[in-house]
Each structure stands twice: as structure tokens, then as C-alpha cells.
Amino acid sequence: MKESLLIKSILDGNAQEYAILVNRYKRPIFNLLLRMTGSREDAADLAQETFLKAYDNLESFKLSNNFFPWLYAIAANLARDNWRKQKHAASHAEQISQQMDSFLEEKTAVEEQMIVMMDTQRLANCLNELPHDYREALILRYHEGLPMGDIGKALGVSTSGAKMRISRGIEKLRALFQSSFSTSSQVPKGK
């Protein structure tokens, strides 16, 4: 079902259809908040708050736009507010490391597994080292596959601003990744 029609139907009183949107976007929103808070519990609470806030403000959503960038912006704002309250951001590096164990179980070539695991963990650590805006721009572009315009809307910047963040983010990530080989014994801790 086309997203704009779905949202129209929800606004017409078919509240149960909101479950389709929750199901469609709960995973990327939860993971965004997990990256920003470092806590599954906080991420789940904030993700829940995100969907409720989005529902409360659904009338203000422009049906010609895509829903996900709008939802993402709400989630990011809530996470920032939460971060200001808590005055800290937990590192997610350890959790990424734990994920790698289960994620890589299905791989067959042990040697390749090891290399990939090391690189993936390194990359996760490097991403965590990046400033939030660069990290989220890269995640939205290469992990969620969003077009530049939607990334701009999600991050509250213009399309050219989104392109610049991605370009600079990649360069920073590359530099961090390269430097991680010289300090491979150390695991970066948070921002």
C-alpha cells in the first residue's frame, strides 16, 4: 500500500493501520537510537516515544514527502534531548563487538571470517569515533540506502549539505580506519 494512502487512512480514524508503519521502521529507528544512547533499554523507550510522537503529529506530516526521514528526524531530536539530560553518550562499540560473534557464525571460511570480523569491528569502532552528524549521514546513505534529499530532511540540512557530510564523513572514516591499524591493540571508546 502506498505510504501516503496509508497515512491518509490512519488520519481517517483507522488507527490500527499505524502498526504497518511501526513494523516497517521499528528496526532502523531502534538502531539509530541504540547508536545514539548505547543502551537497549533507552533505545526501546525512545523508539516507542518516537512512534507515539509521530502519531500525535501525523496531521502535520506532508503527504508528498517520505515518511522515514520525518520519523528519523523526530527520533534524532528525542535522542539529542535525552543525551542533554543524561550529559553523556554511551559507547556502542562493545555491543557491536558482541553482535559480530553471532553475525559471523554463518560464515564458512574461518580465515575470511577472522579478517572480516576484525575489519567490521574496526569499522564499528571508527564509526563510533565519528561525530554524530557524519556517522548518521553515512548510516542513512550506505546502510539504509536513502537518497540524498531524504538524508538532508532527516538531518535537517539541504541536499548539498547532506552530500558534503557524506563526503567528509567518508574521508574521516577512512582516516580513522587507517590509523586504527597502527593502534590496533586499542579499542576506541565512545566519542
Binding site: D12, G13, R27, P28, M118, R174
Partner: protein, 202 residues
């Protein structure tokens, strides 16, 4: 996952490929339930409901050809009845106005065989010929119309073929209208004593 070994000078493709492959975590199992149990259907204002009713597409109902044919016949019948009454009420003004107990039915008769059309105009119809067209009597060729008139003094004339206005040659009284045309005068009292021998004939 790209099949590329670790190196110290990663390409952009390698990095972006790895970002794409980063594992996501699943939200808690009861997440959906926790959200949806707090979702309350949005109240819709009358204005919103009305607007959505206006812009919502309608589904055309299925109809049997036989039913459609019967419906058309009924509609044509209704149209015929309506048109009949409509003509009666408008082409024969007395039919409507005769409901007034004080009105008197007056037959206007004009002997003008060369006319193709004739109508009576007067103070009782504001000198407008619409709905006061006369009908030719096939037996003697005269033009006639019956009009219900209130008691009182009425000025009138005939209009021939929509162009020529003449006074009634049979009228007992005439007067100048101030514009060079003479109008006939008809006086009706409650007993209809107009000096005429025929109550319904002028």
C-alpha cells in the same frame, strides 16, 4: 560482504560496503504491542468528514438491464405527467388563478383569420404575452383564450404575430394609452355585469 582482505588503505567501496553490512539489532519482541496499545484513533471533525466525503470516490452500483429499463419508463411517465401539469398551469392561467373564489372566467375572442399567432396582453398580465397565447377555434377560425380575472377594471389589447397590437374590435369601451395606441376596457364586478349578453364572451 565484500571478499576483500583487510588493508591499511581501504577503498571507499570497501568502507561503504562494510557500512551496508553492519548488523542491526532487533528491537524488543513486545515493541509493537507496547506502541500500538497506546495508539488511540484520531477524532475527526465534521468539517474533515464532510470534506473527505466530497473527495472520496464513489462505487458505481451494479444494476440489472431490466431494472434500468423499468426505471427509465417510470421516469419518462413522471416527466410526461409533470409536463402536462406544467403546461396546464402556465399556458392556461385561469387554471391556477381560478382557485380564487372572486375571479371570473372570461373568454377573449378575436376574429383575425390572417394571423398566425395571437395573444392577449393587458393590465392583468403586465402586458406580457407569455403564457397568454390564444388558440384557434377550428370550427369558426377565431382566436380564443379563457382567462380568470379579478373583479375590477382591466385594460387589454391583442398582439398579432408578436408585432402588431390592436384593440378588441368587439369591446364596448376603449381608451388611449398615451402613446398613440388604443386599448380596450373591460370592467368586471362581482355579478359580472359588463353589458354583455354572453357571460363568458367578450
Amino acid at each position: 560482504m565484500k571478499n576483500k582482505i583487510s588493508n591499511e588503505d581501504p577503498s571507499i567501496d570497501y568502507l561503504t560496503g562494510m557500512i551496508a553490512s553492519l548488523p542491526d539489532e532487533e528491537p524488543p519482541g513486545d515493541f509493537m504491542q507496547a506502541v500500538m496499545q497506546q495508539i488511540i484513533p484520531k477524532p475527526i471533525s465534521f468539517r474533515q468528514r464532510f470534506w473527505r466525503f466530497l473527495i472520496a470516490p464513489f462505487t458505481v452500483i451494479a444494476i440489472r438491464p431490466l431494472h434500468a429499463a423499468v426505471t427509465i419508463v417510470l421516469l419518462v411517465g413522471l416527466l410526461f405527467v409533470f409536463k402536462t401539469f406544467w403546461i396546464s398551469d402556465n399556458d392556461y392561467p385561469y387554471a391556477a388563478s381560478s382557485k380564487n373564489a372572486n375571479t371570473k372566467l372570461v373568454n377573449f375572442i378575436l376574429d383575425y383569420p390572417s394571423a398566425k399567432k395571437a395573444a392577449v396582453i393587458g393590465s392583468f398580465n403586465h402586458w406580457q404575452p407569455e403564457h397568454y397565447h390564444m388558440h384557434r377555434n377550428l370550427s369558426d377560425g377565431t382566436w380564443q383564450i379563457a382567462v380568470a380575472l379579478q373583479p375590477g377594471r382591466h385594460a387589454y389589447a391583442f398582439i398579432i404575430d408578436n408585432t402588431k397590437i390592436i384593440a378588441d374590435p368587439r369591446a364596448l369601451w376603449e381608451q388611449d394609452d398615451g402613446f398613440g395606441t388604443r386599448n380596450s376596457i373591460l370592467t368586471i364586478d362581482n355579478e359580472y355585469d359588463n353589458g354583455s349578453s354572453d357571460e363568458n364572451r367578450i
